[in-house]
Amino acid sequence: MAESISLNLISGRTIQQGVAMEGGKSKQPYTEACGIIEMDPEDLKRLGIYRNTHVRVTSDYGSVVVKAVEATQGPHPGLAFIPMGVWANAVVNPNTYGVGMPTFKGTPIQVSPAANEPVLSSIELVQMLVKE
């Protein structure tokens, strides 16, 4: 059990993200589909948390609270996945290194338990973050 663990973050599409997005990004199912981090069971164990608990994800570029779920497309120990959306983009490496494309895949993150912190909706989250 650790206070926080280091993982490598990638983001991308899931079919749940797609369906929920087309259903409306201001709706609760969208938060449920995207306000998550998919972690390998081994990493959940290392962090000492149960599935479906909230965690705080922090990188050099920001911080966000999401729900930790067990990876459905694993195993991938050491790798974490947040579906594309505001939650992932709160922490991804925005540098394009001169080609226009932010580095959406391969951001080093720290994950720590945050059981009592809420997962915000996409709208709440973006409105809060742009004020920072």
């Binding site: 079919i15 990876a71 991938h76 790798l79 959306g85 080609v99 226009g100 959406f104 973006v126 409105q127």
Partner: protein, 451 residues
């Protein structure tokens, strides 16, 4: 009695399926049922029936709340925003038709705008790679009719292009592929054991971000040269096995996605994937296709191409078309605070740009022209809701293999709602009026800048 519209195109992903059937209410206003579509496509069609949809423009007030305004007011605000801006960014364009893209380009020429499409966070690196090394490719029907080796690299069609496997690439029986998936070998490369990889004959779960190394190893193996024991976490035997499968095919194809474009290396990863394809043509027939995300992001690149010569990130601020990814790309412009206004059109950077770029959007005059509420509309000064393209209005769209299909209108938009093409056309005409009214001195200096 409901009526059914057939041969409908699906406005979700770049597969641009055109065999959707939609049952609509008798009065032609509601989508009742959707057939043949994937879960995401069906959700998009059915969402047009949502009762709580916003149908009139909304302007952000000082206290952060939004107040309904008329389309006329929205057009006025948008036209003035463009006229007063020295360097407006016009971002998005992938969830609309080519007609609207074309009118947007007229506005960019008139106001010195920068037009960038969602490829900038999707297949932009692929477009750069194609400029470096070309692209041997083919249409999706060629895959269906000929391909017996299919390689998915850094893409997960089971989630992102749900009907791709059944309609084009793995399962269909074509002219020379009568056995369907039984006659096809499937290779999947990904850092996760994705739902696509679970179907593969040769799964290769590589270390994240090591695509360039693994692609190089493929090129070495194709030439029959020695490999180190492991590359990118993959034992060399597996690499030789994959290459053997590829060489034994009569017609092979590589599909690739964000796994390669968004990982470090970016365009160079694609360079190498294309060179693998070119090398393979020494031994058999091989093609490579980018798994384009939005249903008409390809169309935006095409219209920009024939009107300006570049597939994305085109800067008209000097009066003529310039292209320099890294400089004229949206995220670089926003992060460097180089634009003084933004129109977001048919897309959602609020969700899909890194937060540092989104903060800049929130600071400058901004208009979001999208059908419904999303994180972009809720940080923009003005939200202009419009009819949903390819459902509530038709128009030309380009599939991921650049095949153009004319989308059908399925239902009427909510009463009084404009299409994005109508909105944009009125903004264009209003800008022309405002420019003509400008005092002569102002106009002359503006033209000098433009010239």
């Amino acid at each position: 009695m409901a009526k059914t519209v057939t041969d409908v195109t699906c406005p979700f992903c770049g597969s641009l399926c055109d065999d959707i059937e939609v049952q609509v209410s008798d009065d032609g206003t509601k989508v009742l049922e959707v057939f043949n579509a994937c879960a995401i496509g069906a959700a998009k069609f059915l969402h047009t029936a949502a009762k709580d949809r916003v149908t009139r423009p909304r302007m952000r007030q000082e206290d952060g709340s939004y107040k309904e305004v008329s389309y006329d007011e929205a057009i006025e605000y948008t036209a003035h925003m463009f006229v007063n801006s020295k360097k407006p960014l016009m971002y998005g364009w992938s969830n609309t038709n080519c007609e609207a893209q074309s009118v947007g380009h007229e506005i960019a020429e008139a106001t010195g705008g920068i037009v960038d499409n969602t490829a900038t966070v999707c297949h932009g690196p692929s477009l750069i790679a194609i400029q470096d090394v070309g692209i041997p490719s083919c249409t999706l029907g060629e895959i269906k009719n000929r391909a017996d080796v299919v390689l998915f690299w850094g893409c997960n069609p089971a989630h992102a292009h749900p009907r791709h496997l059944s309609k084009y690439s793995i399962f269909p029986r074509g002219f020379f592929t009568g056995k369907g998936h039984k006659g096809r070998k499937m290779i999947v490369v990904d850092p996760r054991n994705t739902d696509t990889m679970k179907l593969a004959d040769v799964p290769l779960q590589l270390e994240q971000g090591r695509d360039y190394e693994l692609l190089s190893a493929f090129r070495v193996a194709i030439r029959g040269e020695e490999l180190p024991e492991k590359v990118a976490g993959i034992p060399r035997e597996k690499i030789y096995e994959a290459v053997e499968v590829m060489k034994n095919g009569r017609f092979g194809v590589i599909f690739f996605g964000m796994g390669v474009t968004q990982s470090l290396g970016k365009n160079h990863n694609i360079d190498n994937a294309i060179m693998v394809t070119k090398d393979m043509n020494e031994y058999t027939k091989f093609a490579i296709i980018a798994m384009r995300g939005h249903y008409n992001v390809t169309g935006s690149g095409q219209v920009m191409g024939w009107q300006w010569g570049f597939p994305f990130a085109t800067d008209l601020s000097r009066g003529f078309a310039r292209y320099n990814p890294g400089e004229t790309t949206s995220n670089d412009l926003l992060r460097r605070r180089e634009v003084d206004a933004i129109m977001v059109f048919a897309s959602d950077p609020g969700s899909h740009f890194p937060i540092s770029s989104v903060r800049e959007i929130a600071k400058i005059p901004s208009v979001a022209v999208v059908p419904d509420i999303n994180p972009t509309t809720e940080i923009s000064k003005l939200h202009v809701p419009v009819a949903v393209n390819a459902i509530e209005t038709g128009g030309c769209c380009y599939r991921m293999d650049n095949v153009p299909i004319d989308a059908r209108k399925v239902v009427e938009p909510p009463e009084g709602m404009l299409t994005d093409l109508e909105f944009l056309t009125r903004v264009r005409d209003r800008i022309a009026e405002l420019k003509a009214q400008a005092p002569a001195g102002v106009r002359a200096s503006a033209e000098a800048v433009g010239a």
